[in-house]
């Protein structure tokens, strides 16, 4: 009984860390441009399809195909910035957020035209057998995903808080004009954020889709990651780990214990209930930047 509980909790936490990895794409773009990217889920799907294209369709070995897919994802990020956002420097953030909604529709269309609506098999990157420790069963892909998420969070936290490039990206997000006046290239900063956002989404796709099937509907993971991003606060990368674990464990336990009682769906709804609650009680999330207003 207890072991079941621990199992559900651990699996929930690992799933939560996958959400955190996807949410990291949101946060990186938000930290650098204050733009909330509604097309994050589509970027995951695109990253997934790029890997499918390289490995399954083109038949490249995984060791070549997957890194190549990451490079292509980076190119997509750069193109998105060049085509849509380079012209919007100095414009309102609202305008840019609206562009991401357009991007959502556009990317979905591109994926459908390029790869079709069929369900495709995603390469098996991580072993399908779960890791068995005593009576605990842990899916290998989620375990690896958890490790990658923690590493990515540590790396990105260090990057944004300690390195010059990371700090200049934060400066761009805070104030385009001040960043310009200090000689920071706003366009380059935002381009880098989109490249990073696309690469992280592709990493999320590997963990999420390894050994599963893929079609355009996989973009729902983007919205599933939303509660994690908002609970952490949209600026906090380290906070995503804790928020991911909280949301994941609650979802895992609710699915195991509450769903059978009410006939399902509690597990999927609860994260969004948490999201609404956090928006009411603490709109900046657990670790997000509060508005600083001097009076």
């Amino acid at each position: 009984m207890i072991i079941d509980f621990v199992n559900y909790a651990i699996n929930g936490a690992l799933l939560g860390l996958l959400y955190a990895l996807i949410a990291m794409g949101f946060v990186v773009i938000y930290r650098a441009s204050k733009v909330f990217n509604f097309a994050q889920g589509e970027l995951v799907v695109l990253g997934g399809f790029l890997q499918w294209w390289m490995v399954v369709s083109m038949g490249l070995p995984m060791i070549v195909g997957i890194p190549l897919a990451f490079v292509l994802a980076g190119v997509v990020g750069l193109l998105i910035e060049r085509i849509f956002f380079a012209r919007l420097v100095g414009e309102s953030v609202f305008a840019m957020v609206m562009v991401t909604i357009g991007l959502l529709v556009l990317l979905r269309g591109v994926v459908l035209v390029a790869f079709g609506p069929q369900v495709r098999p995603f390469p098996i990157v991580f072993p399908l057998q779960p890791l068995v420790i005593g009576e605990l069963m842990i899916p290998t892909n989620l375990l690896w995903g958890g490790v990658l998420t923690v590493l990515a969070a540590i790396g990105l936290s260090w990057f944004f808080n300690r390195t010059r490039t990371g700090l200049t990206m934060t400066a761009v997000a805070e104030d385009h004009q001040v960043a310009l006046s200090m000689g920071i290239s706003v366009k380059r900063s935002i381009a880098f954020a989109w490249i990073l956002g696309c690469v992280l989404s592709t990493l999320g796709a590997v963990v999420f889709l390894s050994g599963k099937s893929l079609n355009f509907l996989a973009s729902e993971i983007g919205f599933a990651a939303l509660p994690v991003a908002l609970l952490a606060g949209l600026e906090s990368i380290g906070g995503l780990l804790l928020a991911g674990v909280i949301v994941g464990v609650i979802q895992g336990l609710a699915t195991a214990y509450l769903d059978p009682l009410v006939g399902g769906a509690v597990g999927s709804v609860l994260p969004f209930a948490i999201m609404l609650l956090i928006l009411l009680v603490r709109p900046t999330g657990l670790f997000g930047w509060r508005t600083i207003e001097r009076v």
Partner: protein, 263 residues
């Protein structure tokens, strides 16, 4: 060093904000631009630093040269690389970063980590109060501390000329003195300054030369001494009568309504 020749600036392709500004800044000096709200002072600085582009403005006529080379139309990043740094109006610190992180952002073009560290040390020794504020979030600093921080941040780029917009804005008189004392030390150290100010009294104490702007034009120029002695400046900007007495605010307003420069 910095020469603006008949510069015109247009916003959104319709609003002519600067109508032919000509001014020159010699190396090692401080030049003040004085004038009321909407005179075009800040626009002049933004035209020089190139940041006007982000406000849908452009230099539509004339030329801006720095050390003999045209800089109008250059990318703002290139302008900073050439040694001009713009300290914007309103103490625009990066509010969520610490004071030290603000400074690091200012020195982001420094070649190598050792040079960045050296510049940080220089700023902390030049502006000692900042040393105690390293880890403090910039948004929570006092107005005076924020003004010192943005000047320190500009120093991190080791500029040849610093363009400073309204350093006294919204500060207590004591803080204004501290900030201007800091600028005086900066000037003594060899940094050229172009200061935009509404507080003409303190600005003319620091400056060697001054320009008075109104309605997008320079209406008066001269050495700081000449401007301090100029009857119109005394009346309209220093609030004094010809005899050196301070005028009451009501009288100053009365004159302002009637004033007409011979542009």
């Amino acid at each position: 060093m910095l020469v603006l020749n008949n510069v015109e600036v247009m916003y959104s392709e319709v609003i002519l904000a600067l109508k032919g500004i000509t001014l020159a800044v010699q190396p090692g000096t401080c030049v003040a631009i004085l004038g009321g709200n909407g005179a075009g002072k800040s626009t002049t600085l933004k035209a020089v630093s190139g940041t006007i582009e982000s406000e849908d403005g452009e230099v539509s006529g004339g030329s801006i040269t720095f050390e003999g080379e045209r800089i109008d139309g250059l990318d703002p990043a290139e302008v900073v690389r050439r040694g001009l740094v713009h300290v914007m109006e309103g103490r625009r610190v990066l509010r969520h970063l610490t004071a030290e992180q603000n400074l690091i952002v200012g020195g982001h073009l420094a070649p190598g980590a050792a040079e960045l560290r050296r510049r940080l040390d220089r700023v902390f020794s030049f502006i000692p109060p900042l040393g105690g504020l390293r880890e403090r979030t910039a948004g929570y600093l006092s107005g005076g501390e924020q003004q010192m921080l943005v000047i320190g941040r500009a120093m991190m780029a080791v500029p040849k000329i610093m363009l400073i917009d309204e350093p006294s804005l919204g500060l207590a008189p004591m803080m204004v003195q501290d900030v201007f004392a800091l600028l005086a030390r900066l000037k003594a150290e060899g940094t050229t300054l172009l200061v935009v100010e509404q507080n003409s009294r303190v600005a003319l104490e620091l400056a060697d030369h001054g320009y008075v702007m109104e309605n997008g034009r320079v209406v008066l120029e001269g050495t700081a001494d000449e401007l301090r002695r100029n009857e119109d400046v005394r009346e309209f900007y220093l609030g004094m009568t010809a005899e050196g007495e301070r005028k009451s605010y009501r009288e100053v307003k009365h004159y302002r309504r009637r004033k007409r420069w011979l542009g």
